[in-house]
Symmetry: C2
Subunit: 378 residues, 2 copies
Amino acid sequence: MSWGLENLPYGVFSRNESEIPRVGVRYGDHVVDLAGALHDEVFATGSLNAFLSRGPAAWRDTRAVIQNKLSTDQTAVEPHLIPLDQVTLHLPIEVADYVDFYCSLEHASNLGRMFRPNEEPLKPNWRQLPVGYHGRAGTVVASGTSIVRPSGQRGAGLFGPSAKLDIEAEVGFVVGTPTALGDRAGRFEDHVFGVTLVNDWSARDIQAWEYVPLGPFLGKSFATSISPWITPLAALSQARVAGREQDPEPHDYLRRQERWGLDLSLEVAINGEVVSRPPYRDMYWTPDQMLAHMTVNGASLRTGDLYASGTVSGAEPGERGSLIELTWNGTEPLKLPDGSARAFLEDGDTVTITATAPGPGGAVITLGEVSGTVVPAR
Amino acid sequence: MSWGLENLPYGVFSRNESEIPRVGVRYGDHVVDLAGALHDEVFATGSLNAFLSRGPAAWRDTRAVIQNKLSTDQTAVEPHLIPLDQVTLHLPIEVADYVDFYCSLEHASNLGRMFRPNEEPLKPNWRQLPVGYHGRAGTVVASGTSIVRPSGQRGAGLFGPSAKLDIEAEVGFVVGTPTALGDRAGRFEDHVFGVTLVNDWSARDIQAWEYVPLGPFLGKSFATSISPWITPLAALSQARVAGREQDPEPHDYLRRQERWGLDLSLEVAINGEVVSRPPYRDMYWTPDQMLAHMTVNGASLRTGDLYASGTVSGAEPGERGSLIELTWNGTEPLKLPDGSARAFLEDGDTVTITATAPGPGGAVITLGEVSGTVVPAR
């Protein structure tokens, strides 16, 4: 099964409203209550952060202990297995800083063509460094949170609810091990604990008007949804790939030391109908390179930092991770099987992003889903 | 005196390394230990955040109680007065999100002229909205923290320590009262507790290469210093001014309801020599407008959010708040009284930004200082 011993992602759950949320791992259709099963209060602190701050040796040991208990000591674990339908899932991490990158060559090229039609689609820096910017950490929300359609300026003299509400299907990376101010990060796997799915909701009309010269702000800051289960890197060992060839050769500090491309297959569904299948393995910049870049200037990392890949778009039209690409800025509306068409999102639409990865022995690792429903502007 | 009853800014201090830092107000050359003086453990929590989250009525009451105690009950306060030279000052707030605006017409125009010489200096959106972006909250540091010269890409194929390390003299606003996701903020004074001085250190060569199209990232994220004393808005009532006239008339949501321009006089010194006197009162966008803009899309506020004005630059050459403007991108180096010249900062340079405001009855409110010394790249 895809939520088996080879997976075991971490999340934060509660059984009722009065309980302080606790850390669990998903196993089949159950959650293992780790504070109980492992007799460790680090898992009773309301988020994954305290556990993440223990570092990679503790992450490895904990995973081994859980796998061992589940495979050899079911009776002891039994009292700590809670059916999934009896829990509420929460935002799994307390997000420290949130950085969003722009790592898909196809996505960056597509947006360049639409936003700056009279220029080269890629800026001169794009192949030299993973372009990124800071997003709003305080509006990273749990999957399932309603997304209020944002209002804002959509051009000179134009104010109102966004008429171009969009999604961005992304892969996010959760930092566990911090660094000191002035230092660079070390090896990717010593700092990054695991992977989450990200929907970086985007109001394209607000973004297009505001973003020069300092980048996206209100067009993005109203909400970013993440999936409830953080898949540890250890569960993705079969998914590791070399990463796309890069030309020109990257600077020394960006040179790949190990294979940290990831063969993740995403699916984007609107109201249950799959509209795109973005392949993460084809991304130009890999997550180890993003981490190296983000810290090369001495910027410190904190436990709970989240950084995302930017929209995952492949070369084929059916592999684009945003509506602005799928509908070419609304000019080629998507036809949904119910007969309706979408240029951008309508109130009531539910967007769900899922992903899977190859696991050991032909198993499939699922990364679960991130979902959200658009509600009308206030 | 400028640290008298009319001022009373809040900071966080400790008397030794083993003590959890505590909240105090500055009074003359002493710190009033509030946890002791007011018998309230909210002031013994390591940052101002817990107190700030109580909201504006608590801020008013607390200030009144402190003023009353200090003016009528000195004997009772005496045991809680600690000489300033016996304490270490810390980062006063746990920064939630950090947003940097771009509110000086002169600064934005100067940078437009330098970065985009063949275009109109101001982008079409600039007079329609306060342009802003998210910075890195995790690298907002206490005044006095050493600033490691950042390394990074400075152009195609160019990597190394920044050769254009700069400052930005700014005024920062500290949010106390949060909002819910999807809501807009209410009145400025119901959300914003007070004011801090900000030095938004900037590596101009890194910034110029990386910033298209998603805005500044590593050119800013290595460090942002703030002053240790947060001046409550209540101490700045005599400094309130109408704010600069705006053309065109701003959108409804940006219309000023009250006078929240502030007559703050900044001074920037390098190694003790004043090189600029930026006037905050001349800024185009006022802090109430920044708050309204930041939340018009429903982005929530958290206690500890910090937003800054952007570089404060006035119309006169001696009023510019960054070296890139003072030296016109290094082409007109500053001559310092010691005979040396500066295009940008050198290792060992100490930059100190101070500010004052008019207080009641001709008194001067000082906002203290934010200071930092550049140390060599690692």
